[in-house]
């Protein structure tokens, strides 16, 4: 392709009309407003003082915004047996470990399953999909039994290890990697690279969008790990458990509950923004390179 032709092609963008783009933008804007409205209301609710919760007609904004709900929530949490920072540490530790481990483990397995032919490949692939579809309410009991046998109950392991192998994460990465041209991998093989190197040096840099999506999923799931019956020691509990307890307390329950929801929503959104920014930068970069 000559340089001139290519420039013409990209500037023309396949005959896209600016009017169409504006139309799409307006459509998405209207629909998007409906999507964020409940979240917006949650934020408003979290900064409304108690007396404003019972105004008729209900207002779409807070007249005298206050942080009382957040203060209530934190004061309940700081009155617990264990210092609040401990819960934060537990949550951050569990979330980071699970996210990092999940991404590494799933990426390697996905690469092998998508790009190598070996005995057992097909079987494993279909087991992964079937396991995604399998839901049963006794499965938690069985998991508990397994963990009890491994002496993991009431340790950090109980919060971390079960989440490391995520069939959904593996499936996502596998699907994405399967579109990569085999020629790239063959070329690297000819150059004498081993599978491990091919996976991390050649395939993964091309899988930024999928990897970032996996990070978002993994973070979101790990951030909400509750522990439940798996840990009963107060010093091992994570934020979601404590925030839920705090949401039950306080004068204006709805307000504190909204504050709790908003508080828990912030970290996943931050991760989301960072991941997306990363994807777009890589895309722009590879565009220049090409």
């Amino acid at each position: 392709m000559t340089e001139v032709k290519r420039m013409k092609a990209s500037s023309k963008q396949a005959g896209k009309k600016i009017g169409g783009t504006v139309g799409i933008f307006i459509f998405l804007l209207v629909l998007g407003l409906f999507m964020v409205l409940p979240i917006y209301l949650a934020i408003v609710m979290s900064i409304k003082p108690v007396q404003e919760l019972f105004i008729f007609p209900p207002k779409l904004y807070a007249i005298n915004p206050t942080l009382d709900n957040f203060r209530d929530m934190f004061s309940v949490m700081s009155e617990m047996w264990v210092p609040f920072s401990r819960y934060v540490f537990n949550s951050v530790f569990v979330t980071v470990t699970v996210t990092v481990a999940q991404c590494i483990v799933a990426s390697m397995a996905a690469f092998v399953l998508a790009k190598c032919r070996f005995p057992g490949n097909k079987v494993i692939n279909s087991i992964i999909v079937v396991s995604l579809l399998y839901t049963s309410n006794v499965i938690y009991i069985m998991q508990y039994i397994v963990m009890a046998k491994l002496n993991m109950i009431n340790t950090y392991w109980a919060l971390i290890l079960p989440s490391i192998a995520s069939p959904m994460g593996l499936f996502l990465m596998r699907q994405s990697m399967s579109t990569m041209p085999d020629a790239m991998i063959e070329a690297a093989k000819v150059d004498g690279a081993n599978m491990f190197t091919i996976c991390w040096k050649i395939v993964m840099p091309n899988q930024k969008p999928a990897l970032m999506t996996l990070i978002i999923f993994a973070f979101q799931a790990a951030w909400n790990i509750q522990g439940g019956t798996l840990v009963y020691n107060e010093s091992l509990k994570t934020l979601p458990t404590v925030v839920q307890q705090a949401a039950m307390a306080g004068l204006a329950r709805a307000g504190v509950a909204a504050a709790a929801a908003v508080f828990m929503l912030v970290p996943p959104i931050v991760i989301f923004m960072l991941a997306q920014k990363n994807v777009i930068e890589t895309m722009a970069h590879s565009g220049i390179k090409e």
Partner: protein, 310 residues
């Protein structure tokens, strides 16, 4: 390796060749190992242990007692509420399955047509609901008194004259739950499709433009969709799972059990028997029926998708 040739060889020879292939690919197994070990311990073993439970009578206190197919007979022959729950689940599945699947794709595509900065913002806007856990707000929006947003708006506009009991009136429960379910249904599938769009090589579009692709539609049909097959499959599986196992939204929103079982899905039914009545054997039988339905659905969809992609 030529499969037909392998078939003709003796069993012993066959095994030797497989072993050879295993040895040749030992790097692959090493890379698969970390995932598989965790997967085996925390997913496969519990799943295999849970399968026989459907054929037992198990109350979590005594040991499970084998009862053969009796759970399934009861389920299909005398459990009227189970029949209701199948109907509710199907209604849910139609709305949050196919409709939401198409919506995921269309939105992911439209967002992709915008400026990069706007892409991030809109992706967040549509994905945020599945991150947020705000049933409280939905309860206030659809609150039965005039403090609820929905009632207050409709009262002001004069469409209704007295507040509607959205969450307890048996004629509105299902509708409200579907709205909320759809609101959070732009989840994993949507984000995976967004990633799929971002991963398409830009040079393909440039080449397409030179070869005479005239507008967005042609670009979508001739370039985008054919290179998104795997992501479409992923989104389909995610959508099947989330639409068939819907139940938590209804439980959090309209309570449990809902009035006249109007929002009683199969999952809610399993929850009822498992965690309220402690009849775990029966509850697992319910889950098994659901699993079979999801599996069949998945097979059908992957057939359709693979035909279309080729």
């Amino acid at each position: 390796m030529d499969l037909a040739a392998v078939g003709k060889r003796s069993k012993k020879e066959n095994r030797r060749l497989t072993w050879l292939a295993v040895k040749q690919n030992k790097e692959c197994y090493f890379m698969l190992f970390p995932f598989m070990i965790f997967f085996l311990i925390f997913t496969i073993i519990p799943v295999v242990m849970s399968v026989p439970m459907g054929f037992t009578d198990f109350n979590m206190v005594q040991l499970p007692k084998f009862v053969g197919l009796s759970n399934f007979y009861t389920l299909f022959l005398s459990d009227k509420i189970f029949m209701t729950s199948i109907r509710v689940t199907l209604v849910f599945a139609i709305f949050t399955g196919p409709i939401s699947y198409v919506l995921c794709f269309v939105l992911a595509w439209l967002i992709n047509e915008l400026h990069p900065k706007l892409k991030t913002i809109f992706t967040l806007v549509f994905y945020a609901p599945s991150m947020a856990n705000i049933y409280t707000i939905w309860q206030i929006i659809f609150s039965g008194d005039s403090y609820g947003y929905m009632n207050s708006i409709l009262l002001n506009l004069g469409i209704i004259s007295s507040p509607v009991q959205w969450l307890t009136d048996s004629s509105t429960i299902l509708g409200v739950t579907i709205v909320v379910q759809m609101w959070i249904s732009l989840g994993a599938g949507f984000l995976a499709l967004r990633a799929g769009f971002q991963n398409i090589d830009r040079s393909q579009y440039e080449a397409g433009a030179i070869e005479g692709i005239k507008n967005r539609w042609q670009e979508l049909i001739y370039i985008t969709i054919p290179s998104m097959g795997p992501q479409l499959m992923f989104a389909a599986v995610m959508q099947i799972v989330s639409s068939f196992t819907a139940g938590t939204v209804a439980q959090n929103l309209v309570g449990f059990p809902s009035t006249d079982y109007k929002a009683h899905t199969i999952m809610t039914h399993a929850y009822d028997y498992g965690w309220v009545r402690y009849e775990m054997g029966y509850a697992s039988a319910i889950c098994m029926v659901l699993f079979v339905a999801m599996y069949v659905c998945n097979r059908l969809i992957s057939k359709v998708l693979s035909k279309y992609m080729d």
